[in-house]
């Protein structure tokens, strides 16, 4: 009986150490990714904490500690997807963090892109963000979204088409006014 308790304690300690490693390695990227997906710093905090809580609760399902980052990435994407789908009010405006690495003035192109991005389906927004913010390859995006790479490719294609159309139209307008 005492031995069983000791084993459990050791496993508990390992679990806490593993979780602390995950937080150390993934927290910043997770929070920023959530902010990009949700376009709301406050909600990104909520989502990140939600995802970490789920990760802690499901820790026993993690078979390979080396894969903890990707495993957690999938949890985070699911949490953000749920939040985006629950939203009844679209994000009306997003003011980029002035301390972010790219505080350039919001150009008309960027405004137009944001509007177009917000108009994409939730799943399309996710694949675009994972591809162009995290620079993940298709396979990694497929792993995080839980769909086949072919589906990711298709979603990305249609999303980029829509974004490109808006971007080009805005470019033409900008050129014409010069």
């Amino acid at each position: 009986m005492a031995e069983t308790t000791a084993v459990r304690s050791e496993r508990g300690l390992e679990r806490e150490q593993g979780f602390a490693r995950l937080v150390s390695q993934e927290l910043a990227a997770a929070y920023r990714t959530a902010a990009v997906l949700l376009r709301d710093a406050g909600e990104a905090e909520d989502a990140t904490q939600d995802a970490l809580m789920r990760a802690w609760q499901q820790w026993d399902r993690l078979r390979d500690d080396e894969r903890a980052g990707a495993w957690f990435g999938r949890i985070l994407v699911n949490v953000c997807r749920d939040r985006l789908r629950r939203r009844r009010t679209a994000v009306i405006g997003w003011l980029p963090d002035p301390s972010s690495p790219d505080p350039a003035a919001r150009t008309a192109e960027r405004e137009a892109l944001w509007q177009a991005f917000a108009g994409l389906s939730v799943d399309q927004q996710i694949v675009v963000a994972l591809r162009y913010y995290l620079d993940l390859p298709l396979e990694a995006i497929a792993e995080r979204t839980g769909v086949p790479p072919g589906t990711v490719k298709s979603r990305l294609h249609h999303a980029l088409q829509a974004l490109r159309a808006i971007y080009d139209a805005q470019e033409r307008t900008t050129e014409a006014t010069r």
Binding site: V23, T48, V91, L95, R110, L113, V128, D168
Partner: protein, 469 residues
Amino acid sequence: MSEQSFEDALRSMLRSAAPADVPASLEHRAFAIPTEMRTTGHGWRAGRTLRGLAGALAAVVVVVAIVSAAVLLRPVVVTSNGTTTGIPIGVASVFGAFSASDLELIIGDQSFTGGPSGWSHPSGGVGLDASFTGSSTFGSFELHWIEHAAPMTLVAYVAANAHDWWVSEIVASEGRPDGTGWLYFEGPFFERPLGSAYDGEAVLTSSRSTDGLTATLRFGNLQMTAFRSGSASRDLTKGTEPPPPSGGSSGALGTVPDFIAVAGPTGGVGYAPQLLVLGTGPTNGYVGAPPDVPVYAADLRTLVGYMVSGRGFVPLAQAAATPVGTSTPPASPGQATLLPGELVLATTAPGSAAGGTLLTGVLGGEVRGDHACLWLTPSDAPTTRLALVWPSGYHAYDDPPLQLNAPDYRVIALAGATLSLSGGSPAPGATPTLDEDPCGLGSIFVVSGVVSVAGVMPSGAVAMPSATP
């Protein structure tokens, strides 16, 4: 345009949304998850779900461009022997952020801390509800919990201009088992430039209460900021509420000033926050009557009094000296002496029945013998006519049209004006007397004060009696 420049633009756009730094509070909470989940279990999660729902409901009620009302709470921290060591509270939304190592509200010999016996969720968890929402210039941080078997509410009102934000007032429950009664902590507090947070301990003493109690409110290691979406970038506006566009519900909130002019019996007395006057604020979770509506001077910061249910406007000095719930002696009944042209008006004694409702609609009226029938058609119920019973001392004249006068005979409004009135209706089933409802409309609204008047105002705005009684 090349594919590369398009992709660069896309990357740049997405990166612009990524905050540079991770909030320290998130980092702290993240590492604490194993400890907190172990001590509070699934109850905490259930509590968070409820809080999320509360936030979402609040966002719907506010009817302004609130992006979301996502709410984040820290759990009750319980020591190994099961006693509560304090209630760390953290609330973060797109509008504002609040965190404190603990709170303590001391009322007499009772101390309220947000627990510890706490509020039992159906799931068995422990926690409190919280929200932090608002518009571009006004908002509120709210906590709801149950302690010592009393439903408790704490609300901090926040305001901002183009440069600064501040807490204009804090109200809290008195700790009565029926949940009624309010403590008022008169601000402004915690004023800071927009974008920066208040950081420090806070110990506040109440300035008045419904039942004459005195309380102390303490926040440990308080960190608070509001309007963090950067929406407050203009000065506060004040004025009268414009009439609705076509007799329907109130006009777009964008056309209504942030603070609405409030009239007392002797004229304009100050300005009350739009969200409280129009009832579009985020709070709906009160037990009993809502808190009195604060009225500010022209600087929109200096508190000058309150719109008190059943009493109308009460100046600050008087409000502080007298417990709000203490009824004042009834005035002499009736209007023994009528001036030429004056009509008998349904009035009631100060302090008599009236709830905390704010009602907006169009004033209607007709002369019935020597009585003035004045009614209000609510903006949200255009087929309803509520007979109005006014505070003692009000007068009515048939000039024509019918006009309503303050006790000093200043004209308050003419028939056809849009009024916002505070007051309340008697309990359902009560039959109005003929004096209260001379036109037999069947339903009455007992007015405690005229909050605002818009439209159909006389040019002179003062009507003096033509004879002295």
